[in-house]
């Protein structure tokens, strides 16, 4: 995994495009906006039948897991394509949290049996670190005392559907905890398609997997890098849908999309999305090759992506006019996901600070 090329490969291969088409087909059939809106206020905001189709049906939970551990032996480039499509559909499935972040932590620990369970999607995993924490920052740990774990952790994305929690403890270890041994309470979340939960451990048994620090850092870095592709998907959908609507919507006896003030805003947004695609491909490619440049690639991608995805979603709400402000129209799903994503795995500002160190542009 240390292939170095002079230039990153920023395109999509034919296989990647075929994967995209397959995922998009599935989401078109099983993840329409109306049913996502209906689901998010129900007791089961996650769509586990869709998750089943993506994982058992298509094997996508195991993209980052080697074939000998029941995975697909693919790379971050393919996982990024899946995330673009999941972003386009704001799909309420624990893909980023389980198939990327928890999987990366287990890969670092060499926990082969658990990897094989995650890859085959018999188990959903969640790293018990707040969604807001970027790589390189401090995170909350629980107490390890008398052979059991004690403590409370908040902001754990997708914990409500997790079977396996990966919990960092104060002894420096990362522990595998069966979700049934924890009390998991949903938190009312801004983004209802990726809800957070509080995890309380009161003497829960855990299995030590290895050192928490390298596993958490690796997981958060991959999460941040591939989140960019999800943000690209969100931005791409909101731009495409807004352009489509403005060609159709008529006011003052003209399509609204013919007004120059709006054309220029949409053209600017298109330019941002084009840039975001290059940044997202670069991050995915750097992670997949283990490039020495991947820290910079991830920080650049995350520093750029959040403002673009939020801008695209905010423009979608504004340019749809009144209908964009309704619960019934899906624009708010994208706005909430984009805004939550702008905090997930570190804000753009945090990634710029990281970059300042990486590229030697020091603070005053």
């Amino acid at each position: 995994m240390t292939t170095q090329r002079a230039q990153p490969d920023l395109l999509y291969s034919e296989e990647e495009e075929a994967l995209r088409a397959a995922v998009r087909d599935l989401l078109t059939d099983h993840c329409d906006a109306a049913s996502v809106i209906a689901r998010i206020e129900s007791d089961t905001p996650h769509d586990l039948s869709l998750w089943k189709a993506l994982t058992e049906g298509m094997g996508l939970a195991g993209l980052l897991v080697p074939e000998e551990l029941d995975g697909q032996g693919a790379t971050h480039r393919e996982a990024a394509v899946v995330l673009e499509e999941l972003g386009r559909a704001v799909a309420p499935v624990p893909y980023l949290t389980s198939a990327v972040v928890a999987t990366e932590a287990l890969l670092e620990c060499g926990a082969d049996d658990l990897l094989s369970q995650l890859a085959s999607a018999t188990v959903i995993g969640a790293l018990a670190v707040s969604l807001s924490v970027p790589a390189g920052s401090a995170y909350k740990v629980v107490r390890f005392e008398n052979g059991a774990l004690h403590g409370e952790l908040t902001g754990i994305a997708d914990a409500a559907v997790a079977d396996l929690l990966l919990v960092p403890a104060d002894d420096g270890g990362l522990y595998a905890v069966d979700a049934s041994a924890a009390v998991i309470t949903p938190q009312v979340s801004l983004d209802l398609t990726r809800p957070l939960a509080k995890v309380v451990l009161d003497g829960a048994p855990g299995r030590l997997l290895g050192d928490a620090e390298p596993a958490v850092q690796r997981a958060l870095r991959a999460g941040a890098g591939l989140l960019t592709s999800e943000q690209l998907g969100l931005a791409d959908w909101t731009l495409t849908e807004t352009v489509r609507y403005l060609k159709e919507r008529k006011q003052f006896n003209r399509p609204v999309g013919g007004f120059q003030a709006l054309k220029h805003r949409l053209a600017q947004l298109w330019l941002e999305v084009v840039n975001l695609r290059a940044a997202a491909r670069n991050a995915a490619d750097a992670l997949s090759t283990g490039s020495h440049d991947s820290d910079v690639a991830v920080a650049v991608a995350q520093a750029y992506a959040a403002p673009v995805a939020v801008h695209a979603a905010e423009e979608a709400v504004q340019l749809h006019g009144g209908i964009g402000m309704t619960w019934e129209h899906p624009a708010h799903l994208y706005l909430k996901r984009a805004k939550a994503d702008s905090i997930a795995y570190g804000t753009a500002g945090r990634h710029r600070e990281t970059l300042a160190g990486l590229v030697d542009l020091r603070t005053p």
Binding site: G258, V274, V359, L361
Partner: protein, 393 residues
């Protein structure tokens, strides 16, 4: 079909027959053109071999390794980037044979006589007149923003040949002799203090009909080839990280800790990220072209670089504090090249103001993106069916 191995063999033969160390520069360039290694995607006999454009890098790498002279492409950018593709697409066989070789070797510099004081963004409204007289056309008018006019041997020129039809239909495309006594070139001083551009006054210049490119009245179609290539040329450079205007600012930041403030730091990091992402977008576009999948992304590159150049150079002036209050040189000069790196931040700041105007203003390019890429409705047109002579001016 010519492949990389074949090109390497041909390049080796060229180098063996004309060793760069002992061959006159111009003789070498002519020999390279005649060997079809000038621009390999051009046809045989016209400096190329009809090979894929992506294989040019093979030849260039071999020649660079052998320390062979190049044709100083920055000095002859208008000829290479705009005149040549237009001549190739619309010229007669005779025109191609006459003009392309000295254009490529740099023996003959070209300029572009398109914009006029009354026809900028609305270029098709141009009023320079060309009237048929026997075998010639007699041209009168004024052109502006003409870089290299004072060095040029030839110009590509568009002029009004039929004022009685709507504006796009009455234009004809010519090759104009810049040594004609009726062509007067005056430097046009810019905000930077220097005169990189010129005004060109054209008085009773006779152009033989044999120097027409394309059909009479079809000049607008011909000009599209020129303009599309101009935008590719402006947006398409390959850069290393920190290769653009962000480079000098980052260097100053590292070397001059006394200039640093928190506000500047935030803005610098934001622009550094945007510059890096724009660079990656350019790289992605290049990879698409090489893979034979040209996307619409190119239309955005010029927009992105114009804004970034302006913001970064503006930040750089501010970063320099008291030095930012100074300017390196207001002397009126006529540079052959635009040199962003050889001058101070103040020059970069002022010169980059032109980046959102030259080669299509940012406002017009945003319309083009909205209409051609996003498919949004076109601007309302009140001039479509009006004869040019009846347009408001």
């Amino acid at each position: 079909m010519t492949d990389a191995a074949d090109l390497k063999r041909r390049t080796a033969e060229l180098l063996a027959a004309h060793p760069p160390a002992t061959t006159d520069r111009l003789d070498f360039l002519r020999a390279r053109f005649d060997a079809g290694l000038a621009w390999v995607h051009y046809p045989e006999g016209l400096g190329g071999l009809g090979a894929p454009r992506s294989l040019q890098v093979v030849v260039d790498a071999e020649l660079e390794a052998a320390a062979a002279p190049d044709n100083d492409p920055r000095r002859i950018g208008i000829g290479l980037g705009m005149a040549a593709p237009t001549i190739l697409a619309f010229g007669t066989e005779e025109q191609k044979r006459r003009y392309l070789r000295p254009l490529w070797t740099g023996e003959e510099v070209w300029c572009q006589l398109f914009s006029e004081p009354g026809a900028g963004s609305d270029l098709a409204a141009l009023g320079t007149r060309a009237v048929r007289n026997g075998e010639d056309w007699v041209v009168n008018g004024q052109k502006v923003w003409t870089s290299s006019a004072h060095l040029a041997r030839w110009a590509i020129l568009i002029a009004r040949t039929d004022p009685d039809v709507p504006k796009h239909r009455g234009i004809t495309y010519f090759i104009c002799d810049m040594t004609d006594p009726g062509v007067e070139v005056r430097p046009l001083r810019q905000v930077t203090g220097e005169a990189e551009f010129n005004e060109v006054f054209i008085t009773d210049v006779r152009i033989p009909d044999s120097r027409r490119l394309g059909e009479a009245g079809d000049g607008w179609t011909v000009a599209q080839t020129t303009l599309n290539n101009e935008r590719v040329a402006i947006g398409g450079m390959r850069l290393p990280r920190e290769g653009g205007m962000i480079g000098p600012v980052a260097k100053t930041w590292r070397e001059r800790p006394e200039l640093r403030t928190h506000d500047l730091h935030q803005r610098l990091l934001k622009l550094w990220v945007e510059a890096e992402v724009a660079r990656l977008t350019g790289e992605r576009l290049r990879q698409q072209l090489v893979a034979g999948q040209p996307g619409p992304e190119g239309a955005g590159m010029k927009l992105a670089f114009a804004r970034l150049n302006q913001e970064i150079s503006g930040l750089e002036v501010e970063l320099r504090g008291e030095e930012g209050l100074l300017y390196d040189d207001w002397t009126m000069r006529r540079p052959e090249l635009v040199d962003f790196t050889g001058r101070d931040a103040g020059y970069r700041y002022l010169r980059s103001k032109g980046n959102s105007i030259e080669g299509g203003t940012t406002e017009v390019l945003l319309n083009i993106v909205a209409e051609r890429v996003l498919g949004l409705p076109a601007e309302p047109r009140t001039d479509k069916d009006v004869a040019w002579k009846d347009l408001a001016r």
